[in-house]
């Protein structure tokens, strides 16, 4: 039988580009590895790891049952409080920002500016934000709420605007055809239409903020962060262990509840 010859399709430009991409990526990673020092790490590590594991086996239960202001329950509650107030207030404030960043509401030019502002807010590190607010209201939970709240605006406004930009424009059209003005269309068509997504994103952000709230305490913005980092630094492993355990359990429970609510929304 005659052999069938098929011309192989080669696009030289495409292959070159792909090779270049791969080279860049691997080059970067290689360079990355080169920059990290691997000192004689393992010697001291071994004993520390042992102590750490010991701490987990015998966690500091007294701390966990200390219901005063110095105790674990209070700190966890404070963390939750920071996360709740920070997230949900931020959600409401994010809405106007999100609208300003949505192309189908304010048009191309304005939305580009809006998106830029939102990105700038998002990129500002939470920790620095917390520090700035500590200078305003002093150390403690309120600074954490403000830092979390402002930072969340950046995140939520972006997610909200994505939801708004991908929504079905039909209801907006319908209300305009009735003779509705800007605000009426907004409140009686656009917002009700996207509200399940908005709530879902807010809850998702709340889950993340629970973790962030525990971190912010590190710089003095209240919550479980400060006692935790302190325990780790002073190598009080039993205390660190109990805090981590309770923290993980709390966050997991909150995640579950939040996840369940989010499923019911869709």
């Amino acid at each position: 039988m005659e052999k069938i010859l098929v011309k192989k399709e080669r696009n030289p430009l495409k292959t070159t580009l792909h090779t270049i991409y791969y080279l860049i990526v691997f080059g970067l990673i290689f360079w990355g590895f080169g920059g990290i020092e691997y000192k004689g790490i393992m010697q001291t590590a071994a004993s520390s790891i042992n102590a750490l594991l010991d701490g987990f086996i015998n966690p500091d239960l007294a701390y966990a049952t200390n219901t005063t202001i110095d105790g674990l329950p209070y700190a966890i509650l404070e963390t939750i409080a920071i996360a709740i107030s920070g997230t949900f207030v931020s959600a409401i404030i994010s809405i106007p920002f999100a609208l300003l960043a949505s192309q189908n509401i304010v048009g191309q030019k304005v939305s580009k500016v809006g998106k830029l502002i939102v990105t700038m807010i998002r990129t500002f590190p939470e920790l620095i934000l917390a520090l700035i607010f500590i200078s305003v209201v002093g150390p403690g939970a309120p600074a954490g709420i403000l830092a979390l709240g402002i930072h969340s605006i950046g995140m939520l406004a972006k997610l909200f605007s994505e939801a708004i930009e991908s929504m079905d424009m039909g209801v907006k059209e319908a209300l305009e055809s009735c003779g509705g003005n800007y605000f009426e269309v907004l409140f009686r068509a656009v917002l009700p239409q996207v509200s399940p997504e908005l709530i879902s994103y807010t809850l998702y952000r709340f889950e993340i903020n629970m973790r962030a709230a525990s971190t912010l305490g590190l710089v003095g913005a209240g919550g479980i962060g400060a006692p935790l980092i302190f325990a780790i630094r002073t190598r009080s492993w039993e205390r660190a262990a109990i805090i981590i355990i309770v923290l993980v359990v709390t966050v997991t429970i909150i995640d579950q509840i939040s996840g369940r609510i989010r499923k019911k929304l869709v």
């Binding site: 990673i29 360079w31 990355g32 590895f33 080169g34 920059g35 990290i36 020092e37 000192k39 790490i41 001291t44 590590a45 520390s48 750490l52 404070e78 939750i80 409080a81 920071i82 709740i84 107030s85 949900f88 207030v89 700038m120 990129t123 500002f124 590190p125 939470e126 920790l127 620095i128 520090l131 700035i132 607010f133 200078s135 305003v136 209201v137 403690g140 939970a141 309120p142 954490g144 709420i145 403000l146 973790r211 962030a212 525990s214 971190t215 590190l218 209240g222 962060g225 935790l228 980092i229 780790i232 630094r233 190598r235 660190a240 981590i244 923290l247 993980v248 966050v251 997991t252 995640d255």
Partner: protein, 260 residues
């Protein structure tokens, strides 16, 4: 004309929800000691601090930031790479539609959940306490954090694939490895790559602050300068890292868009 009467709507559940949520929020704010008036009254202090940071920032300091900044980027690169690498096989194992043994998924997902629940900072400080100060601890922390993040996103992707392609291959006698190679991986590869790049974006930000607990990179420089109250240098660091993160974000968003 005659008036039409309609029965009253049942609004109990809705109103109860709104009430509970409002109470939760207000209660939380109160519990945390949040006082709106105090905040507004003291805002000027914040603007004063901002002034010292950014007007003007210490530009001469820039050359000294480059090295720690590079270290931060390296941390993020390596951490993401290692985390993503380990995440792929883990995700395959954790997906409930490929290897169907339950006693594999449940513990695996459990561990993943725990890893995702511990904040990156906590992991970092743990590793600093164990491995000492420096970027190594940061990399390990980021790797673990990224591993948890990408594993979850990826196994969810795997579970959402078009199973038909898998069935087609199985029906012609392909074994598990072949199914993986020809049906599953091709479908999730763009998403996996997208998640990895997303992970890098997150890590670049995380790496910048991990230094705070001593894990290397620009965060350490930041903490140092804050401790010494060199606010104008702090401003420089913030602007610089802000710019880097922005650039990386733009580039990676562009790449991610072209993947999907």
């Amino acid at each position: 004309m005659e008036k039409i009467t309609v029965p009253k709507p049942r609004r109990l559940r809705r109103n109860l929800t709104i009430l509970t949520v409002t109470l939760l929020i207000v209660g939380s704010a109160w519990f945390a000691g949040f006082n709106l008036f105090e905040v507004i009254g003291n805002l000027y202090k914040g603007s004063r601090l901002l002034g010292r940071m950014f007007f003007p920032p210490d530009i001469s300091y820039v050359p000294r930031i480059i090295s720690p900044m590079l270290e931060t980027i390296q941390m993020a690169l390596v951490g993401t790479f290692i985390g993503a690498l380990v995440a792929l096989p883990t995700a395959v194992l954790a997906a409930n539609n490929f290897i169907k043994t339950k006693w594999l998924h449940v513990p695996l997902r459990f561990i993943l959940n725990i890893l995702r629940t511990i904040p990156a900072m906590v992991l970092a400080s743990l590793f600093v306490a164990v491995f000492g100060l420096g970027a190594f601890s940061g990399v390990v922390a980021l790797a673990i954090f990224t591993f948890g993040l990408i594993s979850k996103l990826t196994f969810e992707s795997i579970e959402a694939i078009d199973y038909g392609q898998v069935e087609a291959l199985m029906s012609l006698g392909a074994n598990k490895m072949n199914v993986l190679r020809y049906a599953i991986i091709p479908q999730i590869l763009p998403q996996y790559t997208s998640y990895t790049i997303y992970g890098f974006e997150v890590n670049i930000r995380a790496a910048a602050v991990l230094g705070w607990v001593g894990a290397g990179g620009i965060g350490q420089t930041l903490e140092y300068n804050l401790a010494w109250r060199n606010f104008d240098r702090v401003g420089t660091i913030i602007i610089f890292s802000f710019a880097i993160v922005l650039i990386i974000d733009l580039v990676s968003s562009a790449i991610r868009k072209r993947l999907v």
